[in-house]
């Protein structure tokens, strides 16, 4: 009687994506190029078939993303023919903000959070779809599928709207915007299983390969370009690694792995003992880091 698990998740996400198209006047998809965004893109293609998704895909580029990500992004936009918008915080570029010089907090705030706000205001988007999942992190586990943001882009966890059944309150006031998370109920395992089943293209960095890395703060950081300063005590090693999440390369830790295909990755996950966000520096700078960033308008 009930649908198999993945089809149920797929249908729920399509329903949410369509709901956004039906009720907002100027929605956008926040496209971060990662595996969750790839799934979201795939679902958006399905949701409106035979039409194309009726909204653009926005990438907020910090200029510190892995080179493979940018190449993949441009290829996907070309192949699928979706409307890709790229926004960079020019103020941050002018000030020379970067993760090595300013630390992860300042870099993320200026180049990601501020940049996102700029882009939302520039285009006047009233709803932004994104691929965040509740199982990623504790404060995300508390967030609604339709999550209202104040005119200052802040998330106020105490004023979240109740969200019953599939009856979503999609109304926003002047200046307010909605963040919408169609993959809320997916787990990391579901994402990989779906990528396998649907044969969804993803950035090759997710697959194990020999890559140049240095050991830093207990993480393996890949040397993606020559902007990365190598300390005298550090050594660049060629290691067989892959990434569980993708972001700015100086802030994203690799894991040692031999998983070179999606089934390999799933097999690896069945024995893994750490959560995927462990490879993100931004969460561990301080306790409650993610909630703070979200309050400020980070996804």
């Amino acid at each position: 009687m009930s649908l198999p698990h993945l089809r149920r998740l797929e249908a729920e996400a399509i329903h949410v994506i369509r709901e956004v198209a039906a009720t907002f006047s100027n929605p956008v998809v926040l496209y971060s190029i990662g595996k969750d965004s790839s799934v979201l893109l795939h679902l958006a293609m399905k949701a409106f078939y035979p039409a194309k998704p009726p909204f653009p895909f926005l990438h907020v580029d910090t200029k510190w993303k892995f080179r493979d990500m940018i190449e993949f992004r441009d290829r996907m936009a070309h192949e699928l023919g979706f409307n890709l918008l790229v926004h960079v915080n020019q103020d941050g570029i002018d000030q020379g903000i970067g993760p090595f010089t300013h630390g992860s907090n300042v870099h993320t705030h200026v180049m990601k959070t501020m940049a996102l706000r700029q882009a939302l205001e520039k285009y006047g988007f009233d709803a932004a779809l994104a691929g965040a999942r509740r199982d990623e992190e504790k404060s995300r586990a508390k967030e609604r599928i339709f999550s209202i943001r104040s005119a200052q882009h802040g998330w106020d966890p105490k004023r979240q709207r109740p969200e019953m059944w599939k009856t979503y309150n999609t109304r926003v006031g002047q200046g307010e915007t909605m963040r919408v998370f169609p993959l809320s109920n997916w787990t990391e395992f579901d994402i990989w299983q779906y990528i396998l089943r649907e044969n969804i293209p993803i950035v090759p960095l997710y697959f194990a390969a020999r890559r140049p890395v240095v050991q830093r703060d207990g993480m393996l950081i890949m040397v993606d370009d020559d902007r990365m300063p190598i300390q005298p005590e550090e050594e660049v090693l060629e290691r067989l690694v892959r990434f569980r999440t993708l972001g700015c390369y100086p802030l994203t830790g690799a894991i040692e792995s031999e998983a070179a295909t999606v089934p390999d990755i799933l097999r690896e996950m069945l024995t893994v003992r750490t959560s995927e966000r462990q490879s993100r520096l931004i969460d561990t700078d301080e306790v409650g880091a993610m909630e703070k960033k979200k309050r400020e308008g980070y996804f």
């Binding site: 009687m1 009930s2 649908l3 198999p4 698990h5 089809r7 149920r8 249908a11 329903h15 369509r18 198209a21 039906a22 293609m45 399905k46 949701a47 078939y49 035979p50 039409a51 509740r134 199982d135 504790k138 404060s139 995300r140 586990a141 508390k142 609604r144 966890p157 105490k158 979240q160 709207r161 109740p162 969200e163 019953m164 059944w165 599939k166 009856t167 979503y168 309150n169 109304r171 926003v172 006031g173 307010e176 809320s184 787990t187 395992f189 299983q193 089934p263 799933l266 996950m269 069945l270 024995t271 893994v272 003992r273 750490t274 959560s275 462990q278 306790v287 409650g288 909630e291 703070k292």
Partner: protein
């Protein structure tokens, strides 16, 4: 989340297929503050080895001093993800967790115990199949236990696990357990749960959580997780009839028109006859379109796009249904409403009512009673305060398609949204339609005056305000306009200001021009009435003939002449625009009452004297007249 049960890694495909076909159980944990809800889920996840190492390591870093005693881990901190929650040591918002065992998949919503956060508990309960109600063995049944049990039952949860927690703190005493269970059974009798399963547990130490405890030899039932893995939900009853709420009409080009939506219940197949619920138009399903190819049939939960044989009017908010098993289509119904907002709900106030895909203006016409959460007694009430539940009659501006909530959770629910703040201020579960509209199905109509006014839920009218300049016509008309608007009526006010400046800009004040002025206004009012509007016309209109001409343009009973009767001296005294002063000084020619006659109406439907009456009272008198007229229909 991980899936660590020893799986042969070489057989990944088979393993995935098995995973995909596992049934899913959605449950909530509820109960009073400190009964150990978050701790229990933490324990379930921990003992089932579903917590990642870094998440455990993080627990050492959070939490106020003194909570993590020694090596023991504060499991609640796994769930309480918000800063305020960690600071206060309570759960504020519902947290969703996902886990799976070899037998089943689970989505658990950990819901807050504080009454203040009832809305978040309702959020979790609305999609759950089962509720674990925790009780502290030492405390027994508390108000929140009753409250949460009532809400769980109200939201349609049919299965309950009564987790009698902290059994370690009463020395694993069977008598304590038996007493708590007996108390609960007695009180829950009226709630109509299909099953209640009591289990003695210690969330803190894990007794009877994932396996039977040696400390409770007197308990021979299943441990909590074993029970959750095997509990039979409602046996697949007779399949419900098709409900396909139209979410979005897809028109990528002139050749394709598809109705996108998620099958709310039942099944739809190519070739099935369907009816558009609100209009009664019949057609047939020609194709079921998806990105992965066309389907022959689609069942509950599937998100598809239907192509129909005929061009029918089925926009968002409508529903495609089988001809022989239609939902209710009505604009009045009874519902149980739970109120979330700090501003109380008052009958008569206008809100936005949202079903899964429909959105209409609505008001509570009658608050029949409030339900006392402790005694379940019906109590009279004039308003619903935050966290209260009431039984209400609701009237919507246009009919909606729905089922009773007990028959269909997806098509029987609604939320109430505040017009100004856009907050979700209430949630409702529909009981039944009023006026027995259930057996009256709409037949396809051509779009005419009747159809247009029926959609606005009103009878068109032309309210013709006549009287001397300064008599108070516009003041009363404005007051009435506001009242009608607040009641969700569709109105338009025509007066000298908005007509003289545009349509009649070319007209002066000679006698012919004044006649032409009235003729044009009457024609405009007629068109507006034909569009289904209630038109308020505020013009001096001094001559009986022109007023008769206007009356004869309208349908029988549609023209309502309202004589605003104020003595000339009083009008001259009020003189709001300084016109009488000028007219009396001879500076304005043809001024009604001064240099031109005013012919008093002889057969006005309403004759209102303004002296000694407030404009608002006069407006209310007209409203009363309109209500009576509506009722006479």
């Amino acid at each position: 989340m991980s899936y660590v049960q020893s799986i042969p890694p070489h057989d990944i495909e088979a393993h995935l297929a098995e995973h995909d076909n596992k049934s899913i159980l959605r449950f909530i944990t509820c109960g009073s503050v400190d009964d150990g809800k978050s701790t229990l889920i933490g324990r379930l996840l921990y003992d089932a080895k579903l917590i990642f190492e870094d998440q455990l390591a993080n627990l050492g870093r959070v939490g106020p001093p003194g909570t993590a005693n020694g090596k023991e881990i504060d499991l609640a901190l796994l769930l309480d993800g918000l800063e305020a929650e960690r600071e206060q040591g309570i759960t504020i918002d519902v947290a969703y967790r996902y886990f799976a065992t070899s037998k089943r998949k689970f989505i658990v919503a950990d819901t807050p115990g504080h009454e203040e956060y009832t809305r978040n508990m309702v959020t979790g309960a609305s999609t759950a199949d089962l509720a674990i109600i925790l009780i502290d063995s030492r405390q027994g049944i508390l108000q929140q236990t009753r409250r949460h049990s009532y809400i769980a039952s109200l939201l349609g949860i049919r299965h309950v696990v009564l987790a009698v927690n902290k059994i370690d703190l009463v020395d694993f005493n069977q008598q304590v357990f038996d007493e708590v269970v007996a108390d609960y059974m007695a009180f829950a009798k009226e709630l109509g749960f299909a099953s209640i399963r009591p289990i003695p547990i210690s969330a803190r130490y894990g007794d009877n959580v994932i396996s039977a405890s040696v400390n409770t030899p007197w308990y021979r039932g299943l441990a909590l997780l074993e029970y959750l893995e095997t509990v039979e939900l409602d046996p697949p009853v007779r399949e419900k009839p098709l409900r396909f709420p139209v979410q979005l009409v897809m028109r990528p080009d002139a050749d394709f028109r598809g109705y996108a939506g998620q099958v709310a219940s039942g099944r739809v197949s190519v070739g099935d006859p369907v009816v558009v619920a609100k209009s009664g138009q019949r057609t047939t399903v020609n194709a079921i379109v998806t990105y992965d190819g066309n389907l022959v049939t689609a069942g509950e939960g599937e998100a598809v796009t239907l192509v129909l044989a005929d061009e029918v009017d089925a926009s968002r908010g409508n529903m495609l249904v089988p001809p022989a098993a239609r939902p209710f289509v009505a604009d009045q119904f009874q519902a149980h409403v739970i109120w979330f907002d700090a501003n109380p709900m008052f009958p008569g106030r206008s809100y936005i009512l949202r079903t899964e895909t429909d959105s209409v203006s609505a008001a509570v016409t009658t608050l029949k009673h409030q339900v006392n959460i402790n005694s379940f007694a019906r109590e009279a009430a004039k308003s619903l305060q935050m966290n209260e539940v009431g039984v209400c009659n609701i009237s919507t501006q246009t009919p909606i398609a729905f089922d009773a909530y007990k028959d269909n959770r997806a098509t029987g629910n609604f939320i109430i949204v505040d017009r100004v703040t856009n907050a979700t201020v209430g949630a409702g579960m529909i009981d039944f339609p009023l006026r027995r509209a259930d057996n009256v199905h709409w037949h396809a109509l051509e779009v005419n005056k009747g159809a247009r006014s029926a959609m606005k839920n009103q009878r068109p009218a032309v309210l013709w305000f006549t009287g001397l300049s300064g008599s108070g016509k516009s003041t009363v008309a404005n007051a009435l306009d506001r009242i009608l608007h607040a009641r969700g009526k569709h109105t338009y006010l025509l007066d000298g200001d908005n007509v003289r400046h545009g349509l009649n800009r070319d007209l002066g004040f000679t006698e012919e021009d004044r006649v032409e002025n009235i003729r044009r206004v009457a024609e405009v009012a007629k068109l507006m009435a034909d569009a289904g509007l209630i038109v308020l016309v505020s013009f001096i209109s001094p001559f009986r003939d022109e007023r008769r001409m206007a009356r004869e343009l309208m349908e029988e009973g549609e023209f309502i002449e309202i004589f605003i009767d104020t003595p000339l001296e009083e009008c001259a005294r009020r003189d709001p625009k300084g016109l009488y002063e000028k007219a009396l000084a001879g500076k304005i020619a043809n001024f009604t009452g001064v240099s031109s006659p005013y012919e008093v109406p002889e057969n006005a439907e309403l004759h209102l004297q303004t002296v000694g009456h407030e404009p608002i009272d006069l407006a209310l008198k007209i409203e009363e007249f309109l209500d009576k007229r509506m009722g006479d229909e």
